[in-house]
């Protein structure tokens, strides 16, 4: 067994490494436990983890929402001098791996309908990952506004794109005059677009009240 005897020094190093590893896990655990129970982020049931390749997404004009509070992070991590190797570390790690595997499954690797919803949601939003709830609203808002949008033939063959910021009440009513934030170059088209939004009011109730960005494009020019 001599061949396997590492000697006192190497044994001490190994113990220290093990202790460091255990300490790191403990700190991680502590960090997690320090997070408040209430979740400040409204998390959707399905998420998109990658951007869908889309034609250069239109400039986003929505007012940025309030920054979401990030979980408190300890400023300084002090490792104990002589950590005691706790027994459950291995179990926790295994548990963590199991959890990650479970999450990966939930994220669509084994759930095609979830993956499809995710892709659709991302596509609906022009490449931005959104929740199914938001994606569903975008879909219904799009259909609703389209039905109110009268576009005479002369506009349909032109390369036009108007970006409008629309202030929506919780119930979907358009508050005030929609704001053209990027003009198409054809003032009558811009007017036509604003008219369509006004006519479409009230829209389906949005997931959140506030300013939402709309882009109006004649079919062939986008």
């Amino acid at each position: 067994m001599v061949g396997f005897d590492l000697g006192e020094t190497r044994r001490r190093e190994a113990r220290r490494a093990l202790a460091l590893s255990a300490g790191a896990h403990l700190v991680l655990l502590g960090l997690l436990l320090a997070i408040p129970e209430t979740d400040p982020v409204v998390l959707p049931g399905v998420i998109a983890v990658e951007l869908v390749a889309a034609p250069s997404p239109p400039r986003r004009v929505a007012r940025r929402p309030e920054p979401i509070a990030s979980p408190p992070v300890p400023q300084k991590v002090v490792l104990p001098e002589e950590p005691v190797l706790p027994e459950p570390v291995v179990d926790l790690e295994k548990e963590y791996q199991d959890l990650m595997a479970q999450l990966r499954e939930e994220l669509g690797e084994v759930a095609p309908e979830l993956a499809a919803a995710r892709t659709e949601a991302a596509a609906e939003s022009g490449g931005l990952a959104v929740s199914p709830e938001v994606a569903a609203w975008i879909r219904s808002a799009k259909i609703h506004v389209r039905s109110a949008w009268v576009l005479p033939p002369g506009f349909r063959t032109q390369l036009l794109q108007t970006h409008v910021a629309v202030d929506l009440a919780a119930g979907g009513s358009v508050i005030g005059e929609p704001r053209v934030v990027r003009r198409s170059g054809n003032p009558w088209y811009d007017e036509n677009v604003v008219r369509a939004i006004q006519k479409a009011s009230p829209l389906p109730a949005p997931p959140e009240a506030g300013e939402w960005a709309f882009v109006f494009v004649p079919e062939d020019s986008y």
């Binding site: 997070i35 009268v150 576009l151 005479p152 002369g154 006519k199 882009v215 109006f216």
Partner: protein, 438 residues
């Protein structure tokens, strides 16, 4: 442990969610099938010294017809109105919700006054969704031309909503043999009120408007049994030879005014072949642009007056070519088809419409001046020929034998709203759409 797991899950999710957490997605809207605004046209208040109940109704009918002609509006029945059927005052703001509720996008209200020898109309156009007045204007015309006032108002309303003026108040010139010989005629843009411009019993063809709409240039065999260019002007009893200074023995086949009206592109005979020239409308500064044994005909100016598209058979078959207005930089535009002719450059400059022969008959196609896009506009087993642009570039006129004898038709640039303007009156060919009235 459940808490740990949920927190672990939350953390991992949040890590994957940076973009969505910071920005709202954009709603991209593409158009549906609605092409026409719904317009509510009130009966104008009759403020004449002797009001006539039928005057405002008949005016409204004319206005509704003219709005329908625009392809931009469809009007709502008086019976559907929640708001007043008759305008109370042209400046009185409407209760927009009454109009929005019945689906009206636009409201036209106005007043009409019949005076001695003339009729006057004042009107307002409202965007009901935004409850905003877009236009207020007054038009007047001699008493017998009230329909013309209604058409001008319709063209104004189309312009207020689209930025492109309607063409209901314009006229078309064409050739018809309804009286026995081919003569030049003029009719309203909806086909109404056709009247002859020439009646010389000879052969008259190729009418072309001056840009101010006061004159029509045409080719006639009335003098010496040789084609010669003539000009007829509104208010003058007889038309005169256009280029009297030119050698009277040489055939003058055809000419078209440039966008300024000061210059002509003319097809004249030279060295035994038809060649293209430019010449001032007073006959001075004759300049030959094409010089070859081939036939060069059918010139059409680009809207900026810098280029001319024309037809040449120099390649062995008739094809469309483009050159600078001084004859330089000639290049062939069409390569598809073996017989392409009769080009007409669009008023906005983006298209050249032409006719192409397929299976022994002609269809109408559009090509862009760079030759990148080449698409059919009118296809039919019978021939469709001689396309001509409306001055707003949104409609075209052409002649077609689809009902046997040739008739004049109009169609939207989108290919919709085909409409026949002439009927059961000889052969009707060579339409030329006049400019906006001034």
């Amino acid at each position: 442990m459940a808490r740990v797991l949920s927190l672990l899950g939350a953390l991992s999710l949040a890590a994957c969610w940076p973009a969505a957490a910071q920005e709202r997605p954009v709603v991209v809207v593409t158009p549906g099938t609605e092409h026409r605004y719904r317009v509510a046209v009130q009966r104008f208040a009759d403020l004449s010294s002797q009001p006539d109940s039928s005057r405002a109704l008949s005016f409204r009918r004319d206005l509704v017809e003219a709005l329908d002609f625009s392809s931009v509006f469809v009007s709502l029945d008086l019976g559907a109105f929640l708001g007043p059927e008759v305008t109370e005052a042209v400046d009185a703001p409407p209760i927009c919700s009454d109009w929005v509720q019945i689906g009206a996008d636009a409201l036209v209200q106005g007043e009409i006054r019949a005076m001695t020898g003339r009729t006057e109309a004042e009107f307002s156009v409202w965007d009901t969704a935004r409850c905003r007045r877009l236009l207020r204007r007054r038009h007047a015309a001699p008493a017998g031309e009230v329909r013309f006032v209604a058409r001008r108002i319709a063209d104004d309303v189309a312009e207020a909503f689209t930025g492109v003026r309607g063409v209901a108040a314009t006229e078309l010139s064409f050739v018809s043999d309804r009286g026995g010989t081919p003569e030049i005629y003029v009719m309203d843009a909806d086909g109404g009120h056709p009247r002859s411009v020439t009646s010389n019993g000879s052969i008259n063809n190729f009418p072309s408007w001056s840009p101010d709409g006061k004159s029509i240039l045409y080719t006639s065999y009335r003098s010496g049994n040789r084609p010669k260019l003539f000009l007829t002007t509104r208010g003058r009893r007889r038309s005169g030879s256009l280029l009297p200074r030119l050698n009277s023995d040489l055939p003058q086949y055809r000419a078209v005014f440039d966008p300024t009206g000061r210059m002509l592109a003319a097809v004249l005979s030279a060295d035994g072949a038809a060649e293209i020239f430019t010449v001032r409308s007073n006959g001075r500064r004759l300049r030959r642009l094409t010089k070859n044994r081939a036939i060069d005909i059918a010139p059409t100016w680009s809207p900026d007056g810098r280029r001319i598209a024309f037809v040449s058979d120099r390649s062995g078959s008739p094809q469309i070519y483009i050159m600078d207005a001084d004859g330089r930089n000639v290049r062939r535009l069409t390569y598809q088809g073996t017989y392409n002719t009769h080009p007409a450059w669009s008023p906005e400059g983006g298209w050249i419409v032409y006719e192409t022969r397929l299976k022994g008959q002609f269809d109408i196609w559009l090509i862009d001046p760079e030759g990148n896009v080449n698409v059919p506009l009118v296809s039919h087993p019978r021939s469709d020929e001689s396309p001509a642009w409306a001055p707003n570039g949104r409609k075209l006129a052409f002649s077609s034998t689809r009902r046997g004898a040739a008739d004049i038709y109009i169609i939207d640039l989108s290919g919709d709203n085909l409409r026949r303007l002439t009927s059961r009156a000889g052969h009707n060919t060579s339409p030329a759409w006049g400019p906006q009235p001034r």
